[in-house]
Every structure is written in structure tokens, then in C-alpha cells.
């Protein structure tokens, strides 16, 4: 069991636990977002004197009532103008907007576009569950094409909104994508977003089992989380765009912290290189300079092979005695030897 940090132990003081259980359905993903937010607030030492939570209408909007922070529960879709004005009047406050995808991108879509344009220094945590949950499950702006909902009985005919594209249209905004399964990543993303000086947006895929999941074939919230575990992968370092089912944090293009590429393409000419006829330093291929530092590229096929191998090892490990498993994990004994001792043919490893 990994050691708990102090923040993980202390996050409860940010929550009104006396109001629990929450109104959210069992299996809902919003609670995970709330707890990760509370842990980040604890880590960063934010409290009710320096942080204001602005929430919208919908299931997600109720988060404000469970957080021990001053909060404004705005009209449907109007979180961003309220948040921007609070930040304008009181620049010393951290203003965190928590809203659903319908609130942020549909009824509040115009405000989203223009708050991004004005680069308001607020953080948006968007609970993206791809559905209007509170009203029973209607098509939302992020509902995938073809999904059947109460308001699209033969499948959603439209393409979901491109939140990444919207946010990244600004040269100053930070965009992060995470899921409620990848909790450590989510926590980092929230922290990074709150620390970001400018507009930041965390797009959090989460499950709505009751009003979406069951209708599209999931039996339980656990299945949906398993689905996130299996389908969502971390984006490659230096990615400029997150593909579908990739999680990551995208900084503006010219930001030094951008995905570990701080010392990237802007490579200077190697010292001592001869100048060309016009006196200019010779051009260097952008890829050549950082090549020495970069890890060797791994092809998708190779990744798939490694993933299959590790899964096979995992399956074989299940057949071992727990005490032996620990020894294998510690490296005291190789898996092949352990299998041999247990009477399993180690050749299965190769097949």
C-alpha cells in the first residue's frame, strides 16, 4: 500500500462531511473529482480566505455546498462571467469553477469562448460525463456520435464539441484532460491548472452510471472505470494534441514547461560551426540537437507487444502463492523459477 501523504489525510477538513451522504447517485464520478480537488486544496494550503468556488447548475453544481469554502451557485451556464468578475475585483483570490459539460459548453458555450479569449485567470474543472444527468439523461454537447439518450432515441446524430480545440485556440490557455480513474493524474492536472497564471481548463471524463452508463451497456460504475483504465492512455511526451482517449496536460506552444520540451526545437547552432556565405549560422535540423537526450522512439506495435507481455506475466502471477509473489516482486527470485517451483511450466511465459 502506498504511503498516504499528509494532504490525503487532511483533505476532509475541506469537506462538510456532516452533510454526507451526498445527493449524488451511488457510483457517480463527481465525488472523486471533489475529493481530488479537496486534496489539491489541502496540498496548496488554500482555504476559505483565499479561494472561492463558483459552480453551475446540474449535478456537478452541488459540489459547492459540500466544500467548506465560500461558493457561488450561479445560474445555469453563467459560472464564467461571475468567476471572471470575482477575479477582476479581487485578484488575490483563487477562483475555481466547477461545472458540468452542459453548463460549460452548451448553455455557457458563448461565455467559455470569450472567457478563453480574454484569458481570465480562472480555473475550470469540467465534469465531462457526456450527458445531462440531473434531468434524466439527455444528449449533451459532449455526447459521442451515435449514443442513444432520452433525447436521441436513435443515436446522437451530431459530433461532440471539441473542448480541446476551443481552449487551445488561445495562445495563453492551459488545457488538461484526465479521467476519474486516473486519480493521481487528475490531481496533478487540477494542481497545475490552479497554479497556472491565466485561463486553465481541466476536462475530466467521469461516469454517470444511472442516467447514461446503463443505457449504453455498462452494468456498473466499476465497469465504466475499468473501461477508462483500459482505453485512456497517457499522451506521449511532447504531444501537441491529445488524441481521443489520451490524457495529458497541454501548455501553450511557447511555454517552457510544455511537456518536457523546454530545450526542444529552438536549437542553436553548435559552437564552432562555419558560417555560410552570407555570414548566417548554418541551419540545424530541428530534430538533431535534442536527439541525444530523447528516449528512443517506441512504435505502437512494440508498445502493444510489451503490454501483452506484462498482462501475461500478471495472469501467471495470479497462480502463485502470495508469499512467493512478494518474493518475485522484490526480485529475490525470477518469475520463471517461481513458476517452476509451483509446478507450472515456465514455457507458458514464452508462448
Amino acid at each position: 500500500m502506498p504511503e498516504l501523504t499528509m494532504a490525503e489525510l487532511g483533505y476532509k477538513k475541506h469537506l462538510k462531511v456532516e452533510l454526507f451522504p451526498t445527493i449524488w447517485c451511488p457510483g457517480c464520478g463527481i465525488g472523486t473529482i471533489m475529493i481530488q480537488l479537496a486534496i489539491v486544496l489541502e496540498e496548496m494550503g488554500l482555504d476559505e480566505t483565499n479561494t472561492v468556488i463558483v459552480t453551475g447548475i446540474g449535478c456537478t453544481g452541488r459540489m459547492g455546498s459540500y466544500l467548506k469554502h465560500e461558493s457561488v451557485y450561479t445560474l445555469h451556464g453563467r459560472t464564467l462571467p461571475v468567476a471572471e468578475a470575482i477575479k477582476t475585483v479581487r485578484p488575490e483570490l483563487n477562483v475555481i469553477v466547477v461545472a458540468g459539460d452542459g453548463d460549460t459548453a452548451s448553455i455557457g458555450g458563448n461565455h467559455l469562448i470569450h472567457t478563453i479569449r480574454r484569458n481570465a485567470n480562472v480555473t475550470v474543472l469540467c465534469n465531462n460525463n457526456e450527458i445531462y444527468g440531473l434531468t434524466g439523461g439527455q444528449t449533451g454537447p459532449t455526447t459521442p456520435t451515435g449514443t442513444k439518450t432520452l433525447s436521441s432515441p436513435i443515436g446522437n446524430p451530431n459530433t461532440p464539441i471539441n473542448l480541446q480545440g476551443l481552449v487551445r485556440s488561445s495562445p495563453h490557455a492551459l488545457y488538461a484532460k484526465s479521467t476519474v480513474y486516473h486519480q493521481q493524474h487528475l490531481r496533478n492536472a487540477i494542481r497545475e491548472a490552479i497554479e497556472w497564471n491565466g485561463f486553465s481548463f481541466v476536462d475530466i471524463t467521469s461516469q454517470c452510471i444511472e442516467n447514461n452508463g446503463r443505457r449504453i451497456g455498462f452494468a456498473s460504475a466499476n465497469e465504466m472505470l475499468t473501461f477508462y483504465r483500459k482505453t485512456f492512455k497517457r499522451a506521449a511526451k511532447g504531444a501537441e494534441l491529445l488524441n481521443e482517449h489520451e490524457i495529458g496536460i497541454l501548455y501553450p506552444v511557447d511555454h517552457p514547461a510544455r511537456n518536457g520540451q523546454a530545450d526542444g526545437a529552438a536549437a542553436a547552432a553548435p559552437p564552432g560551426a562555419p558560417a555560410d556565405a552570407n555570414g548566417h549560422a548554418p541551419k540545424v535540423e530541428a530534430t538533431s540537437a535534442p536527439a541525444a537526450k530523447a528516449k528512443p522512439a517506441v512504435s505502437d506495435d512494440e508498445k502493444a507487444r510489451r503490454r501483452a507481455e506484462s498482462q501475461k506475466r500478471l495472469a501467471l502471477m495470479q497462480r502463485l502463492d502470495p508469499a512467493v509473489k512478494i518474493r518475485v516482486a522484490k526480485g529475490e527470485i525470477s518469475l520463471a523459477d517461481a513458476l517452476r517451483e509451483a509446478g507450472v511450466d515456465p514455457a507458458e511465459l514464452e508462448s
Binding site: V52, P81, A85, I113
Partner: protein, 380 residues
Amino acid sequence: MRKLVQGNEAVFHGAVAAGASYYAGYPISPSTEILNIASGYAAAHHREFRFLQAEDEIASANAVIGASLAGAKAFTATSGPGFSLMQEAIGYAQKVGVPSVFVDVQRVGPATGMPTMPGQGDIMQVRFGSSGDYTPIAFYPNGTEEAFRVTVQAFNAAEESRSPVVILSDTFVGHLNEIIDLDELAAEITVVPRDFAPLARHVAGQPRFFAGVLMYESGANAGEPATADADEYRRQFYEAKQRHLDVAGRYALYEHGWNRHAEVLIVCYGIVSRVAAPLAADYALFRPIRIHPVLGDELREITARYREIVVVEANDGQYADLVQLAIGREVKRVPLLGGRISIEAVRDGVERVLAGGPGEAPFPPAATERRRPSPLEVGG
């Protein structure tokens, strides 16, 4: 220093004198001058005054709410169509108790209407525009100096009642240029300060939760939704209503042009009262300045002295309905609608209704002939 000041400009300077430090708005004639002046003022005084040109009136109204909760005295200005977009936010500010000021420089509606001829068609929108029940306070000045004073009073009333207060105006009042002394005016006002802690300054007790849904405000379950508790709703509703009525009572502003020969009282406000001023020789005039809630006691007492009450206004008789309801007595109405407002139209209308005729002006017979001929007609 005495100088020529426009009605809209006077509203802005009144707001600053009252302590306003935040303006959010969206350009719309005939209120745009306020936005322009606010942006210039913010550029020159960026430490004490903030300005936002929002993407629409919905955003400006909500930004005003956010700024006010954060501790600034905030206001916005718009015209009829934008005021319609702000209604939801005004309802929110009523529910949550957000001191704020909304200026509506009216033009002829509905919708884009006759941009930007003067009208008074938003009287009922101020009263009933948002969903649910609430008791709004609204003022309607008819000149530049009064626009300044009334704006200060609107900000004070907003603080005292903790509610959004509306300043009504119209194209003529907004664009009226009069010579006034802003410094002298600013010296004689009193300003009501904010009396509740802004966001994140309320460290002593439990953190607050400003919500448009019904919430328990105190007690063991403070902060919990009370969305099914009708008794709690009644308690909060009547508390707010009483607070608004109490504050409105302190601003029972009106003008009564008494005339001892007159048996007829003309009730009018805003630009119509300026146009109708020459009629003071023949009629008594009454001009409500605090237009909502309707001046019930004052109207009952004053109208009792007259044989006939005629309400003249640049709409289809919106305020006449409210006056009739308040005094419990039939009033005659001269609906001028909007657009061209002239002393002749007012005088003819009043004489017509007093003679038992309709308040509406007859269509001029030449109206169809003034139609712009089509190119086909010209060619043929």
C-alpha cells in the same frame, strides 16, 4: 464647474459618486455612452475602477453579480432587448440578495423595435420580467441633474435592500444635454456603504453559499438545500419583500405640480413629463420618480383631490394599469406608444379622453399615401 452634461453621462458620474467600482456592459444604443465613458474612466483610474466589455448582456449582468459578491459596487447599462437578456440574472440577484444597479435606457420594442426612438415599454418588464415573485425597486429620472441624484439613490437603495435596483431612462433623457455642476452635486450626496462581508472575507463563521436555489440560511442545517420546504420559502420571501418595501419607503420620490384651478391630474414620467410640462397651466401634473413599487399612499392621497386622472405614457398603458390598481379608481389613459412624442399628441390625447373619446390617436388618413412607392410603381 458648470458644464454641458448628457443624461447618460450623468448616470455614470452618479454611479462613481455613489462608490461604484465595476462596470460590465455590452454596446446597445441608446445606452452605449455609459459603456464608452466607463471604459475611458477605467483606463484612467484602473486601480479603483474595473471595466468589462462582455460578450453579451447575459454575461454583463452575471459579471455585475460576481463583482458585487466580491465586494465592488457594480452596475451595467443596456436598452430593452439587452434588458430582456438580463432578466434571469436580475431574478438571481433578487433571490440571492445581491446589491447591484441595472440601467435600462428604453427604446421602442418589442425586439429590435424602432432603434432607437424613445419609448417607455419596459415598465412592466422591470416589474415582472424575471420568473417568480419579487418586489423590485426602480427609479425614472427626467433630466440630467436628476439622473445624477437618482443614480446615487439607486445605489444606496441597492445596498440597503440588498437587491438589484433599476434605473429607467429613455432615448431622450439619456441623450438630453443640460448644464449642471457635477462637483457641486457630488458634494451634497450621502453614500451608503456595503454592510456585509464580501466573498472570502467572512472568516469567522461557516463559509457562505450564495445560491439561486432555496437554501437554509442558518441553524443546524445551514447550507443545505431547502428546495421542498414551502414554509422556509414563505419566510424568506416575506422577509425580502418587507425589506424592499421598507427601503422603497425611504425613497418615495415624486413631483406634484399643483394647480388650484385644475380638476384633472395628468400622471406622466420620464420624457413624457418633459414634453407635457407646458400643460401645467391647465392641468395638475404628477410625476412618480420612484416608479416601482408604485407610490400607493401618495397616489391615493393626491388623486383624491381630482375629478379625473389621466395617465399619459409612451407605451400601451402599462403604468396606468398599476396606478388604477393602486388607487382603486378608474383612470383614463393616453397611450402614446413610442417613437414621436409631441406636446400636440399629449394635449390632443388628454382632451380626447376627457371628452369621452379613445385615448389612442386616430391614424392620419394620409398614412398609406406616405408609403414609399415600389420601383415597379415608379417605372409604370
